[in-house]
């Protein structure tokens, strides 16, 4: 942890600005494949399943998330459409992390890591569009 943090920008109010707690009922779709994605989520409570081709015969479960896991980051990073859908079977509580917050985290990160994240994101997009 590095110092030089404390200022008005780091007040609890300011920190909350980039975060949003959201409740989704059972059977709700959090985001759908193909939507423009600007927000990532951290699963606080409940269940979330990531599907590809959700609602189609080609539907395929990518992963089932547990509390404390983040999802939706890919679209945020690449600034593109959602590549998968997020669905809650029994309902869930999520902490939405805005793009600005994530960008700030990236900006605070080591330049090497920042480059690496950007590179991987682009490579994933490239591969998925091929």
């Amino acid at each position: 942890m590095t110092l030089a943090r404390g200022n008005s920008e780091t007040s609890v109010q300011a920190v909350w600005k980039g975060l949003d707690r959201r409740l989704f009922p059972a059977g709700a779709t959090i985001f759908a494949e193909g939507e423009l994605g600007t927000i990532a989520y951290i699963l606080l409570r409940g269940d979330v399943t990531i599907f590809i081709g959700f609602g189609t015969p080609q539907q395929r479960t990518v992963t089932k998330l547990k509390p404390g896991q983040m999802f939706g980051v890919h679209a945020l990073m690449a600034g593109s459409q959602r590549a998968a859908s997020a669905f809650t079977e029994h309902g869930c509580e999520l902490l939405a992390v805005g793009e600005g917050k994530l960008r700030q985290k990236l900006d605070d990160a080591d330049p090497f890591l920042r480059y690496w994240v950007d590179y991987l994101s682009k490579r994933i997009i490239d591969l998925s569009t091929q």
Partner: protein, 717 residues
Amino acid sequence: MHTAPTRGQRLSLFVTVLSLFLFGALLVGTGVTVTNYVHTRQTAARVASDTFDTTIDRINERRLAFFAPVFLIAELLRNDPSFHQSAGPKEAIRPLIVSALTLSPQISAVYAGYDNGNYFQILSISEAEKPFLARLGGPPSARFAIQEIRADNDGVRIETWKFLDSDHRQIGTLSDDRPTYDPRRRDWYREASAKPQNIARPPPYIFATTSQAGMTIARAFAGGAIGVDVTLDRLMAYVRSVRSNEKHRFVAFDDQNRLLAHFDLDQMFKPPRPGDVRSTELATTADLTDPVAREAVQLFTRRGPYRMADLDVGGTDYLATVVRQVARDGGVFFVLYAAPLSDFQGTLADAAARSLPAALLIFVLTLPAIVYLAHSISKPLARLSSEAELIRSFQLDDPIKMESRVREINTLIRSMSGMKSTIREVSKFVPKALVKDILESESLVAVGGKTRRISILFTDVKDFTPIAAGIPAERLMVNLSEYFEDLASLIIKENGTVDKFIGDAIFAFWNAPLPVERHEHAACATALKCRLALLRLNARWMEKGLPPWHTRFGVHVGEAVLGNVGSSDRIDYTAIGDTVNIAARLEALNNYYGTGILVSGQIVDVCSNQFLFRRIDRSQPKGAAKPLDVFELLGAVDGPEEYGVTPAMAKLVRDWNAVYDMYASQDWLRTLDALEAFASEHPEDVVAGIYLERVVEFLLEPPPENWNGIMHFSSKR
């Protein structure tokens, strides 16, 4: 540390100076008295010597006058042919002799003895001779008696007496045909006959006729000798009369120590032997009974004649002289004269009694001047002494304003004034408490240190570098001085030691070099007061259009090495050790937590009863050996309004403790709930923001199960 040995009660300077003056005055008075006495004594000795000379001269003159008619009549009769004839008539010479006897009462008899045993005498009848006259059977009114012893043609010696009255008329006769008196067997006759060229002067003796002390002057002529009897009582009476008083002693004695004169005529002859009514043996100096005369003679025996000598007889001082005299006939004799010294000079006590009242009067008259002088010396010195005590107690503000009429004291005043201002100025460069300690303890400054528990305060101005870049350097120095003056004076007022100014930072501590009770509390209170002072300073500056400064404080307590660091020429008194570093790190952590005053858990352990703290974190700053419980100092419990605990502060701590308890349980989801609730009440709280971010991170990547809650920092600032 050097400590002066304890001594008895010291006298004040005024008393000492006054005593010295008094002692000096007394000494001078005594000295003058003694000198006067000694001088008087010397004068007395001279006066006594002159008096003795005069007296002896007068006695000599009287002696000469006394004996002049004696010698004259002796010489006249010796040259008178009619007197040489043993059987011739003496009528022609008789008037001369009678006149001489009349005019010279000291001559009691004039007579002549002849080879054939004849004898002629004219006796002056005075009161002393009356008994003799009565025994002889002469008329009581006789003034002169003429005795003649003559042998007739048959060789029968006949003695006849004729008596004359005062008019020289014969008033009676007596005769005796068997006289026993024979002049040729008398000492005077034999001595005169033995030395016919000289006057015979046998020593005094008791006259057979009158039992009076006297002496005979005898002179031989062809066929006989002349004798003149002189009674000494008149001479002795005169000798006594020339004495000033009865205490004066006069003794004359010849070269065989036989007395020729004595102030007490009774002492002229030896004491009578048992059975004798009266002694007729002449006394010598060995027979002297008067102690003064004996002492004077003993001195004469040891060293011969002396002009003047001091004698101590029975505790009384006497002056004495023994001088050599030559008689008319060439004989040598000595005159002793002695008198009490007190006749010429009073005693020392008398002198003191005479001098002391005058000395006392002078002293009393000069006492105001003495007191003034003692004051003029002691008063400035007493004030200087007070000034020295003020310097020792480090009260250096007021300059020394005083003067003395004494030049050396004035120099001392100037020197001390210079020293005071120098210490005042120099003490600005070093901790005042240190200078005070050195002044009070008189200890020597040497390199070295000792471990002590101290409370440390570090201050730093937030973003000072851009502030400094934004204003002219001169203005910056003025602002910085004003800032340091306000804060440093507060620290010193709270018994803190300002170790040094480091740029815009202040490093201060408590409990060294002087012990400070409850120094942890003092450090906390000072931090709060500094915060308040800074608010006021900023208010002033903002009125002038100057940007405000925000100062961060770090307070810690612990063991540190206190002492002198440097070379023998340049020494800094400072504190070093991990405790100092931690205080500095605490100050720096304010930047991270957005806080103003961060203190360590060690401070909170001691001071939580009097100050309100908010738990901030468990941190391990870079370089710190151990993790640190970090708290924020908010205010003083029951403190003044300016920096006392407010209800808002109390609520903040209560609300935050709820969050922190959840955080400590490491239930991050519920901590998030708690932070959300806290944020609604305290939206501007930076610490909660930090924790919110931290909790979000923990949601994504929880710390290890054995995590102890310590946050590690990778940089110092």
